[in-house]
């Protein structure tokens, strides 16, 4: 029996879909059977982020309304045999699915997959309620900005009210340089404010845009720092104790030398 993890944030644009795609890919690279579920009905995006947009035949609404069997709607990933995507419907709205149907769907997927990861839509309305209905655990993604942290705080309250205890935090788009000069909230600041367990910190990284442009996931990019961050988070989900990634800029003299010879 697998577990269902919902990736949520409240605010839009903080990186829920990117996180879902990368954690799914990361878990699959460890040989786990993973199903990604795009719960953002009407604003389908996980398919393009995964580079699977051309393979969609059926979607989540087709499954819950009985048009097709669950198996028929699952799209196999390009790289990992054990990774599948259940796409959202693009032409329907959030009311096309209800929480009971989501619960039933999650139960079914759990029988077959080690991990079911649900990409939650932004907001706290019906789409959010659907996405969390069948979840066993929750990950809250936020960025070090007042609006995102405020929304994350609200979401944490709603998750706990829905009996999804102990949600885990991912801080996304972290900029060490700004933190060091006192212009961005630090990891400690965020921990102090939100007071939930930290699952990982992902640095701001252009490589995320580059890989997403190509329909690939940065977790497979061995050289990128954000890829490393996602690989670490993946291992933490699998129960390993992995220390936080060192996000400090490389030390003074060496860095200065690099700058001089134009390496950075």
């Amino acid at each position: 029996m697998g577990e269902v993890i919902v990736v949520t944030s409240g605010k839009g644009g903080v990186g829920k879909t990117t996180t879902t795609a990368n954690l799914g890919t990361g878990l699959a690279s460890h040989g786990k059977k993973v199903c990604l579920v795009d719960a953002d009905i009407g604003l389908r995006n996980l398919d393009v982020v995964m580079g699977l947009e051309n393979r969609i035949v059926f979607d989540i609404v087709d499954v819950t309304s009985g048009v097709c069997r669950t198996r028929q709607a699952l799209i196999k990933d390009k790289r990992y045999e054990s990774l599948h995507l259940l796409p959202a419907a693009q032409t329907k709205d959030k009311t096309a699915v209800n929480p009971d149907q989501m619960r039933e769907l999650c139960e079914e997927l759990k029988q077959e997959f080690d991990f079911v990861i649900i990409d939650c839509p932004a907001g706290i309305e019906q789409g959010f309620k659907n996405a969390i209905a069948g979840a066993d655990k929750a990950i809250v993604v936020t960025t070090p900005e007042v609006s995102a942290v405020r929304d994350a705080d609200r979401i944490i309250g709603l998750l706990e009210a829905a009996d999804l205890r102990e949600p885990k935090l991912i801080i996304n788009r972290y900029r060490t340089k700004m933190v060091n000069r006192g212009d961005m909230m630090s990891i400690d600041d965020m921990n102090e404010i939100l007071a939930i367990d930290l699952l990982g910190v992902v640095p701001e990284d252009e490589q995320v845009v580059v890989t997403t442009n190509k329909g690939e996931t940065v977790v497979r990019d061995d050289k990128s720092q954000s890829g490393q961050a996602y690989r670490n988070i993946t291992r933490r989900i699998l129960g390993e104790n992995v220390p936080l990634l060192n996000l400090e800029e490389p030390g003074g003299l060496l860095n200065a030398l690099r700058k001089m010879i134009g390496m950075r």
Partner: protein, 91 residues
Amino acid sequence: MLDFLNRFFGRETASSKNVAKERLRLVLVHDRANVSPELLSSLKNDLIKVISNYMEIDEKALEVSLDSNDQQVALVANIPVKRMKRTKSLA
């Protein structure tokens, strides 16, 4: 070290992240206490009604807010009194 230098040069209080933290701290007190501005203003009106039975207050200058220190949230009301009444007026 950097923190120390910042403090040394008096930058600590001016840094934008501290502004962000302070603003968040206050806004989350309200969010978590689930208090809407409407509720606060209705509380304010009721307070005026009750207190006016006993003393004359400056309604315009009256301030009601939720404040937090450490783990506690406090309801803070600043009510300027203009004049005390000799007897309670039964409304």
